[in-house]
Amino acid sequence: MSDVESLASKIPDGCLLALPPDYSLVAMEVVRALVRKRSRNLRLLGVPILGMSADLLIGAGCVAEVETSAVSLGEAGLAPRFTEAAEKGEIKVRDATCPAIHTALQAAEKGVPYMPIGGVIGSDLIAGRPDWKVVDDLLIVPALRPDVALFHARWADEAGNVWVGRRRELATVAHASRQTLVTYEELKKGDMLEDELLAPGVISSVYISATAHAPRGAWPLGVAGVYAPDDTHLSQYAKAAKTREGFQRYLEEWVLTPRKSFSPA
């Protein structure tokens, strides 16, 4: 079993799995491994929105429920497998709004049961969320504690730390989750916390449960400063996934055949 497959094996069916948006270091290699191992009944949490990772998992039948502020392929358009599954009622969607998810994760990282946020009053989102309360014109959201946070990092080091740079929502979700699983581009020797310039972008090994080496592991999404998102591939995916048959062909070509999924952009 490869490191990536072994990381995927730590994600149990039915768990609450937190994933970042397409622009924020997605561990796509592990997402493909979840499809290959036929994960079922995953509950996805978008931190705070979701894109291609969620669309792949939904289309492959791995997902029972999604809590998110949106699912979109950005410039490539609607997320077709999410859209169809939601319209047909094949998945449950718990609609949220970005700062409510950030705040709920911040409550969990502080170890408090709930936190207030401004705005949102007047939105129909509140009626769909019996777990949200309105007190003195402030929305109170309960702490969100994902079972697993999964993302990709620019570096891991020999001390077990990972570096995500400015993608600090990944630090918040790592602090808030029971387990954090990370793939990385490159291994650095030593301990990044000893380097004053690197330390602010580090998530300490305190929060990291396991890591796996996955070069180009975010592909077809990007890693800022290393490789750009593969926009051509993303728009090919968006087109293919418009139908079940096209999506199935995509899976066979790019996901179920592991060597192809490492294809360089």
Binding site: P21, Y23, S24, P48, I49, T68, S69, A70, V71, S72, G74, E75, L78, A79, F82, T83, A86, E87, V93, D95, A96, T97, C98, P99, A100, H102, Q106, I117, G118, G119, V120, I121, G122, S123, D124, L125, R166, R167, R168, E169, L170, A171, T172, G222, A224, A228, P229
Partner: protein
Amino acid sequence: MGPYAKEELLACVIARLLGGARHAAIGASSPIPATGCFLHREKDRTFRVSLQQRRAANPFSEGSRELFDLAGQGRIDTFFLGGAQIDGTGAINLVRADGRRFPGSFGSAFMYPMVPGTILFREEHSRRTLVRKVDFVSARGTPKALLTGKALFSWQPGGKRFRLESFHDSSREEIAELTGFEYDVSPDARQTPPPTAEEIALLRGPVAKLVAADYPDFARRVWGTTLAA
């Protein structure tokens, strides 16, 4: 339409709404609002434009929550929101209608009530998008204006209604036909003034280069601009 692209006209209308604004934030997939903001910045260098999803040199270093924290403190005065549906009370719907599912509310439920100068922008102007009452309220707030591919409406806080201010390549009659909600009409309602020679020169010069860095497909389509240009 004159010898200018529709996108250029819409960007000019946006820029003309930004007098006095200090700091605009721009969310995902909004090349025309970004163009309007960059155009305004050519005239007011103190105006700050923060693109939330910029790939290189992103303005935020505290992750995606920083935008909302800035707005919560009142440090952002201009934001742009669209909607699968927009209604005459200014409510927007990004979730669902008629059995169709849309991507979701994003940060709108927070940003709309928090940012004083929210501009609603939706290119499609039809009874499908501009409805009497949205099927789902993603967000409610007090808009500064509603701009479509056909018309500019201001918001009247007293009457809580939109007011038609100008129309582009259209007429009062056509706007009435294509709009699903009731609105007032300004006594001065007229054709939207076309871009001035100065605006066109700025758009096709420095603004096009800025826009191409973040919206390459859009810049190529409108101006034939590429990053290397």
